[in-house]
Symmetry: C2
Subunit: 115 residues, 2 copies
DNA sequence: GCTAGCTCGTTCATTAATTGAACACACTAA
DNA sequence: TTAGTGTGTTCAATTAATGAACGAGCTAGC
């Protein structure tokens, strides 16, 4: 599944290192090779990335993933959207933590009364 | 899959409303009936919950889920463990947000230079 | 040449997790 | 009796993710 999380993370990693391999991406992202392959091809399909074969310094055939102009534009939007989601999550967590802390405090208090 | 999240949430909901049905739990938790059934029975199997059939006010056969003494004890532990995880997530989020904000700031700056 | 070995991306059978329609049972009300 | 409602339970189907296996392209050593 291609979510904003992987859109963002893959575009970022590829941008900073276009010669990264799918296996390196998988390791970096902590997911399987199959998933990286799927997401990467999805990003290519929608035109955010393109892949080029080229000869590297050792004249070896190598792959290079490049952000398209649309990819660069979209990456900014995706990053912002991703950030907004994180901030929402952050607030949710904040209140969850408050509630949990309260529950724990209340429970240990009732334990004091019980004993 | 029975994770701390569902251990905590189910024990909490059941404790505050022992006559809750699996369908209500599913709705409340935002998961399927099948999953609630699975988790609930897992909690019963490990002895944190027990289920009783009884006649309710309308003399209708009804179900009641009750925390066992072990269940009450464990709920406290699970809640604490869950809280600790949330606090860790909170810190992770905090730094992720900082990083994302930076990236967005940097990107829009480079855009200014470009235009 | 030729072969062994390495690293690419790609494939796909398998596994894991979840879903929710369908079912059996118990009860109520008409 | 019968239709309707609300239980928990089941399980075939779906979805997502995994990673071993594969073919292609290249290098190094024989």
């Amino acid at each position: 599944m291609l979510t904003d999380e992987y859109r963002y993370k893959i575009l970022k990693l590829v941008q900073s290192n276009p010669e990264i391999s799918q296996r390196e991406l998988a390791k970096e992202l902590g997911v399987s090779l199959g998933k990286v392959n799927f997401c990467l091809n999805a990003l290519i399909k929608v035109g955010l990335l393109k892949v080029t074969n080229f000869r590297n310094s050792k004249n070896k055939l190598a792959y290079m993933y490049l952000l398209t102009p649309v990819g660069i534009e979209e990456k900014a939007k995706i990053t912002l959207r991703f950030l907004k989601n994180k901030m929402k999550e952050y607030e949710v967590l904040e209140s969850e933590i408050r509630i949990l802390s309260n529950e724990i405090a209340t429970d240990s208090q009732s334990k004091l009364f019980r004993d």
